[in-house]
């Protein structure tokens, strides 16, 4: 009669130096783990790589005696694989790669236009700095600048609305920008994202 050893017994055997035990463990969970990784990444070579990295981590942890017997062996191995899959997607997001198929992937052309949380914070900071500095400008310059930048009005429309000539509106805009630059330098503000 063939005796089937429990995973926990095989782990103990391996930790006490029986190299054959890890072979049984790898072969026992090979299909399940491979299927799990493949279902997430959908690529054969990548699945092999992640499978290999997962068991290298398992081997190192067991050899160092750092395995904690509280949980079950397979869920622990799956968790390692899961973390490695997440790491892979994080890296591949930073470095998009050609996937070797001739099928057209629309996502290779589409990008996420939204700013990430950090850039959004910086943008909000810049917007509020700029709004504060505009309030420091003389009223007539402030008025022209707001109409031009925030209301997207032409200088003709500005002149009609403020009752000054187009040249005066242009001059006010010019001075508004010069004064803003001075304020930026004086306050050592960085207005780039």
């Amino acid at each position: 009669m063939i005796q089937v050893l429990e995973d926990s017994q095989l782990v103990k055997d391996y930790m006490s130096g029986n190299e054959r035990a890890i072979e049984v463990l790898i072969n026992r969970h090979n299909a399940r783990l491979t299927g799990f990784i493949y279902s997430k990444v959908g690529d054969r070579e990548l699945t092999e790589d992640i499978f290999q990295d997962t068991f290298m981590k398992v081997i190192r942890t067991l050899k160092r005696g750092a395995y904690n017997e509280e949980g079950k062996f397979l869920p622990w191995v799956m968790r390692i694989a899961h973390n490695l899959i997440i790491d892979h997607f994080r890296k591949s997001n930073r470095m998009p790669m050609f996937d070797g198929t001739d099928s057209f992937n629309v996502f290779s052309l589409m990008g996420d236009e939204k700013l990430n949380a950090e850039k959004q914070l910086i943008k909000d900071q810049i917007d509020s700095d700029l709004a504060r500095m505009i309030k420091e400008l003389p009223e007539d310059q402030q008025e022209v600048l707001q109409m031009r930048l925030y209301k997207d009005m032409s200088f003709k429309e500005i002149s009609e609305n403020t009752g000054v000539s187009i040249n005066t509106a242009l001059g006010r805009m010019r001075y508004a920008l010069i004064n803003l630059r001075k304020l930026v330098e004086a306050n050592s503000i960085v207005l780039t994202n």
């Binding site: 190299e19 090979n30 299927g35 092999e48 499978f51 081997i59 070797g100």
Partner: protein
């Protein structure tokens, strides 16, 4: 006109890791030694 050759991905589903991968892992396991000195663990790979 110049032909463009392209290697297609294997579309078959993967059911288990290759025997080469398993062999690599077993060899890695045999070669890995962990030694401890003054409470610090050292890993060494003896090929």
């Amino acid at each position: 006109m110049e032909k463009i050759y392209q290697t297609k991905k294997n579309q078959c589903k993967l059911v288990s890791a290759k025997p080469e991968t398993i062999k690599f892992l077993l060899d890695y396991s045999k070669s890995l030694k962990v030694t401890e000195a003054k409470g610090i663990q050292f890993e060494s790979n003896l090929n």
